[in-house]
Amino acid sequence: MRRIGIDVGGTNTDAVLLEGTRVEHAVKTPTTADVTTGIVAALRALLAGVPPDRRRVDAVMIGTTHFTNAVVQRRDLTPVAALRIGLPASASLPPFVDWPSDLAAIVRGAVFMAEGGHEVDGRRIVSLDEAAVRRAARAIRAAGLRAVGVAAVFSPIDPSDERRAAEILAEECPGAAVTLSHELGRLGLLERENACLLNAALIDLARRTTRAFEEALAASGLEAPLFLTQNDGTVTLASQAAAFPVYSFASGPTNSMRGAAFLSGVGDAIVVDVGGTTTDVGCVRHGFPREANGVVEIGGVRTLFRMPDVLSLALGGGTLVEPDPLRIGPESVGFRLTEQALVFGGDRLTCTDLAVAAGLVSLGDPAAVLRLPTDLVRAAVGEVHARIAEAVDRMKPDAREIPVIAVGGASFLVPPRMPGISRVLAVPHHAVANAVGAAIAQVGGELDLVFQNMSREAAIAEARRLAEERAVRAGARRETLAVVEVEDIPLAYLPGNSLRTRVRVVGEIAGFR
């Protein structure tokens, strides 16, 4: 199987061509403002490196931080109409509560609340007030709003009210992009609704971006299905990703962890990705990143996204070092490393200079750091090593020894030995681990529902069946699906032996020639 993986980062667009499990070619090109030009250039450079008869590929996977950046930087967001269904319950905390005011000012187009929704045991709170939904739909059209987020109380248990609202919206404001909260996930109305509203705000951008990706692909002459990578290390067809941009929020760290695991051939490890400004430390199990369990904030908004559990340190190759008293970071020269670091002829002392002075790497002009005091170099490198070792220790899944995979442009800062670590692996192509991670992504499906009056085994089997359906719809080949996560939590106080069951399955991409 031949795949191209592309990572569109803030600074660089990386592309790799994988033949089976071998990296055939890899390139790094600057990211452009319009994204498309950068991808076209990366694809050209990549294809130029292989003979014409080897330019056929089975799939192209793109990973991008575009959507997170839009939220974090408050740009390219569409105003959203929020429709909450659940009155008279949950009235005290309306949609957009606890959003940062600057973000709410951009995204909050209108707020409507209607009667409806369900109880935890599946009964109705009250019947859906269709007339109120219809009035809201007409007001949405009158206000010229084109994006709508609908969240009903306990919709993960019974989504019928959200679906009915979508039908009414389709009748009254045709063409509006409607996001339904139950399609995004878990129990926790506020967090699920937040995800839903962010998704609605990003749909325009997602459609434009995926179209740009498709055009870039067409311009490069490649004929292959286009996938977008998601937070959990899987991919989804670009057409489907355009409807759920929030699922692609954290694909950067995920791809780097997946790529590292793949390049090293080690599935269970701690991955340390040292860039110019930050070090991301994560944990992979069976080649997939461990997910964060709790609340994840995106641009100041609480969500319950499927996100990798990543510990970020303000420490990288460009991090500034003050000698007396010794202080390392958090400031970094960032992408100006190649102008400002001592070894590159600049006048700022960075972690890269320390590494060159300590003989950990040869870069630039080693003579520029000859006069650094040995004590300083030893103390500072010791401090950098100690910080990384502590982060690694914090991310370890248990007390057993586990390998560390070091990737990223400044991976030379990773200490060669750490307590509780069996070995530190350096891998080829580590600088393009992200793009490799995109190239090897699989298709996943997840289900998170409360089951009642069912045995544990029956509930898990049913959850698995539904998760597999979702994976197949997202483009997976059914016979390759495997369960990667099963979690069940009995729910306190609730009648009928309630069991919240979460199952995630992954599989290979279907439809290859």
């Binding site: 009235a91 905390l93 461990r290 306190a492 609730l494």
Partner: protein
């Protein structure tokens, strides 16, 4: 004597939310939504006053409020300040008496903020006291029950036009059964006003100044975080608590029996506890802890499991594999350590055949 009542700032409410979560001893649900409600009420001009219980007249009437139900349900059906205010008004109509103030039945978890929601809507002060000094799962686990006070009436309000009055109950356990049934019917979440208390009963049978204690605890955690100091140490210093174990969660087993979240967790030691093991058992709240198989801490001593790094309290529903946690014990209010107290809230009340032994030694 100090001023009988004083306004509580929004900053203190934020601190109360942090402190109440720690005093929840693993249960009581997260105070996050209560905090959001309070921010909105304060933004609308509300200011709640905190009343020194010593300032209560013996014949003042005090409303004892709480949200009853499953913490998970309130993740979808939010606690409603109007509903808790309605439960209080219902009680006034039923008894024909006006309340002088409101108070919490439990300071721990989300219910620590419940009287503030009611107080903001009804413009009543909140008494600086509660009836548990922490959180407990059942109605009979209060200082009022320990002191043998009357358990009825109880009013229960739903967000729909449903209202229930439990006019009488044979004892506190019957009150628990009857009200739990009604609560489950209306969706496993309801606003309740418990049996009203007189000023004298509050002064004699409540656990006093626990609101101030929770605010102080929250302030200490916030200050420690700002100063990049260890928030767990700060809590222990301030409350005379004891660090019992530091480790990493190795296993969590949860199951629902008789309407409660029960289960066990195993921690594997880190640092000076390397090679050792700590087991925890819970029924909504942490109940018993064993160090290398030996009982080390048990209810009613407050058992806290905190994120080792942030000092954030971790609930029995949110503890997960791999978390690095510190187990601490905080002293329980004296009344819970009396023979009658131990009967209602000691280890045997939770099904553990253990004689209560406090981490802090025998009661003075």
């Amino acid at each position: 004597m100090a001023e009988p009542s004083r306004p509580v700032s929004l900053e203190e409410i934020e601190q109360l939310a942090v402190g109440a979560w720690i005093l929840g001893a693993g249960g009581g649900g997260s105070p996050y939504h209560g905090l959001l409600n309070m921010r909105r009420l304060y933004a609308g001009g509300a200011v709640v006053r905190l009343l020194d219980p010593a300032a209560l007249a013996d014949d003042d009437d005090v409303a004892v409020v709480s949200f009853m139900g499953a913490p998970l349900v309130t993740q979808e059906r939010f606690k409603d300040p109007q509903a808790i205010a309605r439960a209080v008004r219902m009680m006034e109509e039923y008894t024909g008496r006006q309340f002088r103030a409101v108070m919490a039945v439990e300071i721990g978890g989300g219910n620590g903020l419940a009287p503030f929601l009611a107080g903001a809507v009804l413009d009543l002060p909140v008494v600086d006291a509660d009836a548990m000094g922490r959180a407990f799962p059942e109605a009979q686990m209060t200082s009022f029950a320990i002191m043998g006070l009357r358990c009825f009436p109880l009013t229960l309000a739903d967000v729909r036009d449903n209202a229930v009055i439990v006019a009488r109950a044979a004892d506190w356990k019957w009150m628990e059964r009857l009200s739990r049934k009604a609560c489950t019917e209306v969706g496993s979440t309801a606003a309740t006003c418990k049996a009203p208390r007189t000023g004298r009963e509050v002064k004699e049978a409540a656990i006093l100044y626990t609101t101030t204690k929770a605010i102080r605890l929250g302030a200490i955690v916030q200050a420690a975080r700002r100063a990049h100091e260890d928030p767990v140490d700060a809590v222990l210093d301030a409350e005379g608590g004891r660090l019992l174990f530091r480790g990493k969660v190795q296993d969590v087993a949860r199951r629902t029996t008789e309407g409660f979240l029960r289960g066990t967790a195993r921690l594997e030691g880190l640092d000076e506890y390397a090679g050792q093991r700590f087991d925890l058992a819970f029924q909504n709240e942490w109940a018993v802890g064993w160090h290398d198989g030996e009982p080390r801490v048990m209810t009613p001593d407050l058992i806290g499991v905190m994120d080792t790094l942030t000092g954030e309290a971790i609930g029995t529903e949110t503890l997960r594999y791999g978390q690095r946690v510190t187990v601490i014990a905080l002293p329980a209010p004296d009344i819970l350590l009396t023979p009658r107290g131990l009967e209602l809230v000691g280890p045997r009340a939770f099904g553990y055949d253990l004689d209560f032994r406090s981490v802090f030694g025998p009661p003075a």
